[in-house]
């Protein structure tokens, strides 16, 4: 694909899950991470974050400026891509293949996209039951789902319709049975970790074959997306640069101009590290941004023009991203794996899913929170976007069941 093709291709698109390939990692980055990873494991190297780079002293960016530099993602933007992918299916009214599935990694926004998509089309949105209901065996939720219902359905969060508990598999088995007997269009969205588990536990792919997945965000896509999220109040174009003045991302208005400055490979590294998951890349991007205190926040360079101001980007090697604590790694792995399989678990449910760790859950969760790997949001513990790549790598190395994304 030429750079022009890459720029003209849609930002959001969906591809078959089995064709998902994370953006490639640069060879020197593989070597660097391998070497420092081993060094860290042997505890021969303590990473001390520094905010000084030569003459520059970089500081965390103010909240309002950060919001302007990288606005909140709007997952509705992916709706047209889903429309495009489901065009033929929608035309036939799901007559021949009534069931379609979309599998998204954590922080890919898939659940939101599918929910908005269904709501915009006035499809019936099947909400998941309260988590506790899955354990009590209350059947109100399942009884309300009638496969003979003539309206098309959207199930936006299948991962919330099961629990990795001996009582938590029956509801999803029954739901899949109901779905398989349906003859009307139904779109199911599922978290990639839950999908991997349900594939092993209940052979979900027999009922929902050939699922789609959001296409990975490579360097080019990330750049275009981040440029579209930039909304400075003074509307002045700002470049994003490394402390050595290398350009990471030009302002969107300059993006199409010829004779551009050569860009650093920061976004390529970010795309590979975040496995092409937009929400993960978005969090790391925000985390990497810095500013220099002082009356002027410009780089002083004459080439970029006086109007251009600069947002500084922490060099990739100096990013202080969360790592796995050294103690009790086996226990921590069990907790992190459980959180990912359910895309977040409440305080009350966690001991039910990990009865063997009930006595130490509290302290382990606080240890993980202190390491920046988990957060408590809306009453549920979940793996943070910043910590997700490290957690996934840790679980994969540990031999745990991991997702396909």
């Amino acid at each position: 694909m030429t750079p022009e093709d890459a720029n003209n291709s849609p930002l959001w698109s969906f591809i078959p899950l089995d064709r998902y390939a994370k953006p490639p990692e640069l060879t020197r980055e593989i070597v660097r991470r391998g070497f420092w990873g081993l060094w860290d494991r042997l505890r021969l190297h303590d990473k001390v974050p520094s905010n000084r780079f030569g003459q520059l002293e970089l500081h965390p960016i103010a909240k309002d400026l950060l919001q302007q530099a990288v606005g909140e993602p709007d997952w509705r933007e992916a709706e047209p891509a889903l429309d495009e992918e489901c065009k033929d299916w929608l035309k036939s009214g799901g007559q021949f293949e009534p069931l379609h599935a979309v599998v998204g990694a954590p922080y890919s926004g898939t659940c939101f996209t599918v929910r908005y998509w269904g709501a915009d089309k006035n499809w019936r949105v099947i909400e998941p039951p309260a988590a506790g209901q899955l354990l009590t065996g209350a059947r109100d939720w399942l009884n309300a789902i009638d496969p003979a219902d003539e309206s098309p359905w959207v199930i936006p969060c299948l991962e919330k319709c099961y629990l990795r508990h001996h009582k938590g598999l029956e509801p999803v088995k029954e739901l899949l049975e109901k779905l398989s007997s349906r003859r009307r269009a139904t779109l199911v969205a599922c978290n990639s970790w839950a999908w991997a588990y349900l594939h092993k536990a209940v052979q979900i792919d027999l009922v929902l074959p050939a699922p789609l997945a959001p296409a990975p965000f490579d360097r080019n896509r990330l750049k275009r997306w981040f440029q579209s999220l930039t909304r400075f109040a003074d509307e002045a174009p700002r470049a994003f640069r490394l402390p050595n003045r290398e350009l990471v991302m030009a302002p969107a208005v300059q993006a199409d101009e010829s004779g551009q400055e050569k860009e650093a490979d920061f976004l390529a590294k970010l795309a590979a590290y975040s496995r092409g998951i937009p929400g993960v890349a978005w969090s790391i991007w925000r985390h990497s941004l810095r500013f220099t205190p002082g009356p002027k926040n410009d780089d002083g360079g004459g080439d970029s023009g006086e109007q251009e101001q600069t947002i500084w980007v922490t060099p990739w090697e100096n990013l202080n991203l969360p790592g796995i604590p050294e103690e009790n790694r086996g226990q921590l792995a069990l907790i992190l794996h459980t959180l990912l399989l359910h895309n977040g678990v409440s305080n009350r449910l966690l001991p039910e899913l990990l009865p063997g760790l009930a006595a130490v859950l509290g302290q382990d969760l606080h240890k993980l929170r202190a390491a920046g790997l988990v957060e408590l949001e809306h009453g549920e513990w979940r793996v943070t976007a910043l910590g997700y790549p490290a957690v996934r790598e840790f679980l994969e190395e540990g031999g745990y069941l991991v997702d396909a994304i």
Partner: protein, 290 residues
């Protein structure tokens, strides 16, 4: 007198023997061996996961290499390394080993054979006679394993010649665990099998790449179920079995299935869950002890 003169012919003149060099070689080899024995397990623990089982078995091989190098350096220091001299020395050593320290020599030879045949490696879970545990070290003369109750058992390699060695993981990271359930015979067997499968399937320790099998056998006292599954790491086998046992018991009680009793000897009855044999399978697939 004649023997003495032939020995002195084999050995170098005492004035020619460099005792400092011998001392340095022996101490050096000993220090390097100790370093390997400490550094490799430390490195294996730091790297963890699958790397542990790749690295640990290298210890005996490295030790053998160090000994060989030390011998190669030592022999010419003590004797004139001609063919006749070497033959004489090794013949004398063989006779000495054969008569004086036969078992010790046999253990040494078995230790060398064990390095190549690999019936056990550091990190393996093995059962030899009545001892079951994780192999911690494979020494020159003996191996050491640590039982789940933290007892260290030293077993000479000599056992290798005439004892069956049960290796549960054989260099792999996982091993099959068997969880037993002893139930009252009045229940729906198909439902119980399905439920026990779900219990195993929802264990956080489960290795999903390996199969889960639930088998049962009707006995005179009730029904004996075995859940066979693999944990992700062999070190988690006891947590895995306990997890399946605790959650399985709860699930069965909720289903209204009565947990059974099994006979132990003539007339004595014990609750099934209290049996030590429900811990990992030393006796794979053996029903005869029930």
């Amino acid at each position: 007198m004649n023997d003495y003169s032939s020995l002195t012919k084999v050995l170098r003149d005492i004035n020619q023997i460099n005792f400092v060099r011998i001392f340095i070689i022996i101490i050096g080899a000993w220090v390097v061996m100790r370093m390997v024995e400490r550094a490799v397990p430390w490195l294996a623990e730091r790297l963890g996961g699958r790397f542990r089982l790749y690295i640990l078995p290298s210890i005996p091989v490295m030790r053998l290499l160090i000994i060989n190098v030390a011998l190669i350096l030592l022999v010419p220091t003590i004797i004139e390394p001609t063919l006749q001299n070497l033959a004489a020395i090794f013949a004398a050593l063989a006779i000495a080993l054969g008569f004086a320290v036969k078992d010790f020599g046999s253990s040494l030879v078995a230790g060398i054979v064990a390095i190549y045949e690999r019936p056990y490696r550091p990190g393996d879970w093995v059962k030899i006679d009545r001892a079951y545990g994780e192999v911690k070290t494979v020494g020159l003369r003996a191996m050491r394993l640590v039982t789940p109750d933290d007892d260290t058992v030293t077993i000479p390699h000599l056992k290798f010649w005439d004892t069956n060695i049960y290796n549960a993981n054989d260099g792999r990271r996982d091993l099959m665990c068997v969880t037993d359930f002893y139930l009252h015979p009045h229940h729906d067997g198909a439902l119980v099998r399905r439920k026990l499968r779900d219990v195993a399937l929802t264990s956080p320790y489960l290795n999903h790449e390996r199969p889960i099998v639930v088998v049962l056998k009707e006995e005179v006292w009730g029904t004996h179920y075995k859940v066979r599954a693999y944990p992700i790491d062999c070190r988690e086998q006891f947590q895995f079995i306990s997890d399946i046992a605790v959650r399985g018991k709860a699930a069965l009680l909720e289903m209204g299935v009565e947990l059974g009793w099994r006979p132990l000897g003539a007339g004595a009855m014990v609750p099934a869950g209290d049996s030590k044999e429900s811990l990992p399978r030393p006796e794979r697939g053996a029903y005869s002890d029930l």
